[in-house]
């Protein structure tokens, strides 16, 4: 029962964090939000019985992707221009 509840809650959280990552104006904040999404995704992979993929997603998605994104934001502009 608890697992089924998790199968409902975590996907909704993932969608919510990805939406936050898209909507925030501050790019650094959206990079962090993307990292949070990756972490939740890795949790979801774990409860979907895919520990291999969970490790890979945690290592690659939450750490490396964020590092590269932060580097790129440091080298460019931090705030998104007003439209």
């Amino acid at each position: 029962m608890i697992i089924e509840l998790l199968h409902i809650i975590i996907p909704i959280l993932i969608v919510a964090t990805s939406l936050v990552a898209v909507l925030l104006r501050d790019l650094m904040a959206s990079a962090i939000s993307l990292a949070a999404m990756s972490l939740l995704l890795s949790l979801e992979f774990y409860i979907l019985q895919a520990p291999d993929v969970a490790i890979a997603e945690a290592g690659v998605g939450a750490c490396l992707t964020t590092a590269i994104l932060v580097l790129a934001i440091k080298a460019t502009a931090r705030m998104e221009e007003e439209s």
Binding site: I8, I14, V53, L69, E81
Partner: protein, 114 residues
């Protein structure tokens, strides 16, 4: 049982990512959108291989019982690494575009010297 909510979440992620790529004008936001689509597709593959009340397909100290399917997991591993490769190259191009035009706004590109 729980009415395909994970599948719908996957599609929501893909749609959010696509909308970002189409409507957002910031280059790094576009890259983030691509990354979200990528995550959505990965989640879709894993969700396809999940069986109710299964255990991971690893025999070491496994309690027995049905196992979730290994092929989608292997495909997802491949896809994750491809995703980070694409992201790295895209962001290096973004950095170069910024050096040339001093802006990340896609509407302001296209001017400048040949």
């Amino acid at each position: 049982m729980i009415a395909n909510i994970p599948f719908l979440a996957v599609m929501a992620m893909i749609i959010i990512g696509l909308a970002t790529v189409v409507f957002k004008r910031n280059l790094i936001k576009m890259v983030i959108g691509v990354s979200i689509i990528e995550s959505g597709v990965n989640l879709f593959l894993i969700t396809l291989g999940y069986r109710e009340h299964s255990v991971a397909p690893i025999y070491t100290a496994s309690p027995g019982g049905i196992m979730s399917y290994p092929v989608p997991q292997a495909l997802t591993l491949t896809s994750i690494v491809i995703g980070v490769a694409v992201l790295a190259l895209m962001l290096s191009l973004v950095i170069y575009i910024y050096r040339h035009y001093k802006t990340l706004d896609i509407r302001k590109l296209g001017g400048g010297e040949e």
